[in-house]
Amino acid sequence: MKQYSEHNFEQCTKCTVCTVYCPVAAVNPLYPGPKQAGPDGERLRLKGVAYYDPAIEMCLNCKRCEVACPSEVRIGDIIHSARIKHSTKRPGLREFTLANTDLVGSVATVVAPVVNATLGLKPVRKVVEGVMKIDHRRIFPKYAFGTFEGWLKGQRKAQALYAKQLAYFHGCYVNYNNPDLGKAFVKVANALGYGVQLLEKEKCCGVALISNGFVEQAKKQAKTNIKSITKATEQKLKVVATSSTCTFTLRDEYDHLLGLDNSAIRDNIDLATRFIYELLADGNQRLEFKSDAPHLRVAYHSACHMERMGWTKYSIELLKLIPNVELVQLESQCCGIAGTYGFKKENYETSQNIGEPLFKAIEASECDVVSTDCETCKWQIEMSTSKRVLHPIEILASYL
């Protein structure tokens, strides 16, 4: 891996390909684009705070600029770091609610049927828009009745029976909204001879805290996670996550945006599809697939952070291994939600405009189901198209 210099922005040769690939610049002319918001802007910001342009806060942090950059400039990091340093916007109730996925999730899962029913009501969503500036058209993910952690704790004895063990970083979404994905992961891991454990203590990875301006809290949670993952690493336990954004945040954002040293554990954090694909690719491990499974046409959507990690290929190759799965690879583009970004009233139009070409491509693909490794892409696509979205691991599990 290349060592990035402290003057990383100077590696920019101004070729502007980042701006060509920026989903926000494509739909919103008020956004200066990654080149100007990033390396150009950083140089000017060294002159003084008067050169900080709040327009850069329109950045989604999708990192597609970094993928496009031929000069290895960490454009997204530069923009986000400037935001952290200079933004004068103070997070409010909305940001607090959207960012504290752990807190909100742990309350909501206890009274899930009520929360789900309430947030499903249009008048309620209108009130939410008025009070919270969360767009009324946005459909909230449903909360589960009971957490994944609770379920897995009940499985502890059964999981301990497996000779090989791994630690699962489930993330807030699996824990509070979709424990079924976690259960699917456990099923696949068990089929490969791995028992699944929880980390000693797991906190939300913090991605929503970072993007909503709660950097200190994000650092606190990150330190807890780094500690837990370090312990797992010392016990020779691989740490595997199903969420691409959690994986990316743990591996890269902790260092780049929070300034925390995660170098000792970074390589021990893996994405579920990559972990499984590599096990199977070795040839030593095999999965027994159902012989009578139905034909399924799956359109795979590459989430932005999957692209940034360069790991899209693992999910695609894994899906291709499943008999009777017909894979359609959608052109790689941002769906527009970018975590909590698309929830905010002022971003709703931009968010939907960014996603529009993807939504059209999905409808045109004639797929049975869409698959992606990112939960927020799932919400966006399910809200904006007629299709259901499943994680590759859920599809894989259903064929076992």
């Binding site: 210099s5 402290e6 003057h7 922005f9 100077e10 590696q11 920019c12 040769t13 101004k14 070729c15 502007t16 008020l30 200066p32 080149k35 100007q36 390396p39 150009d40 802007g41 140089r43 000017l44 060294l46 002159k47 003084g48 008067a50 050169y51 900080y52 342009d53 709040p54 327009a55 000069s71």
Partner: protein
Amino acid sequence: MNNQYDVIIVGGGATGAGVARDCALRGIRALLIERADIATGATGRNHGLLHSGARYAVNDRESAEECIKENMILRRIASHCVEDTGGLFITLPEDSLEFQAKFIDACRAAGIGAEAIDPKQALALEPSVNPTLIGAVKVPDGSIDPFRLTAANVLDAQLHGAKVLTYTLVEQLIIESGKVVGVKTLNTLTGERGEYRAQITVNACGIWGRDLAAKAGVTINMLPAKGALLVFGHRVNNVVINRCRKPADADILVPGDSITVIGTTSSKVPFDQCDNMVVTADEVDLLLREGCMLAPALEHTRILRAYAGVRPLVASDDDPSGRSVSRGIVVLDHATRDGVDGFITITGGKLMTYRLMAEWTVDLICKKLGVAVGCTTAVAPLPGSAEAEKVSKSCKCSVHCVSAKASVENRHGERAKDIDNSTAAKRALVCECEQVSVGEVEYAVNCLGVKNLIDLRRRTRVGMGTCQGELCAARAASVMSEVAGKSAAEAKADLKSFIGERWKGMSAVAWGDTLREGELLSWLYDGVCDLSNLKEQK
């Protein structure tokens, strides 16, 4: 056409522009003639350091006193050209702290506020400073933009009735009965010849003043001393860093606008090389090596370009380095010195003292012309610095270009209000690195005497950023051809000359990212735009 003036000033550097302004403010009809663009000689080829005078305090008390006085004056009258960065004189383990004590005493004696601070304090004040320092002294250094300063002087001279001719070469002095009564000129853009008359002709040509004096049969012994400098890609330091020792090579690091400059070297050059300054590999090595002693981060910082200027020193002794020559101001009244009436040479000095040089010159002019008006340039603010506090309310920019607004106000002070950025088309950026809009280019062409892209760079910073014109040059050429009514062929020739000039500065430091940038520059302009002779210019 009336070609009669009171005074003709030859040379459009800071000094010539300052003389023209001072004349105009005193009601003297002045004509300023410059063979190229303003600030193309030594004025535009130095650190851009607003000297506190501390550097001269030990060896040259007179210069030190002049500097600190002018420093305080420039902060007032040229606030939009000056940055109050403060300065540090650092002592490294290989330097002597005894010099520091002597230095502080000398500064105080010259009236320069010099305060020794703890090395830790110095590091807190300027984190880029060499952390091994053993001593630091705080002085009131700053930075000054010489292009902006000269342009503001020219603009004010014009606003007060002076006439300015750029790209006009003085081919001959008109001498009648032993008196210089005017000049014969050639416009180098149009080929047009002209004749202008005045009671007094002022030679403000810097090192080239020797040649102009020779046209009047007068000999001035000058000593061309070349100084090379490097421009780094961004502001590495926010405080000027000097080495606290006897003045030597490459011991001043100055943050100026969006970049940092290290300099200088000092070497004697032959007169025939004054128009052809090339920075050598040895000079680059020396600058970089010494620069890293001031701020170690320079080792990993992209170097944008190298450039060199020629100090117009008047030879007073045989010192080969040209360093112990006083930077003192030299006003030569050739009537008394050589028996040539109507001819004055102003030389020596330095950018810092341009205003005082002008004052002394115009005082002499007044005496000769019998004008009894005093000098006001020490108190009258330059255009752009008049209403600094009102600046941020004056510019009509929309909310979405905060950095462009800050940039244009920084460059033009309250004059930014004269720039039309009212529509999206006018706000569109020509130069993204330095945030120069279409409106600003139009203003520079219409109001600041810009004739070509290189002139535009001096007025607006177009092409001074990281990409060195790679993205902005073609856009600027296009806007300029519309505003100035140039043909496509003229615009293309201008573009070629601009890119050639940018590459000249880059070529001396063309490695790493600068080389990659150069490759892209070449690919765009040679490969895509087919500026076919670009290779020859390299």
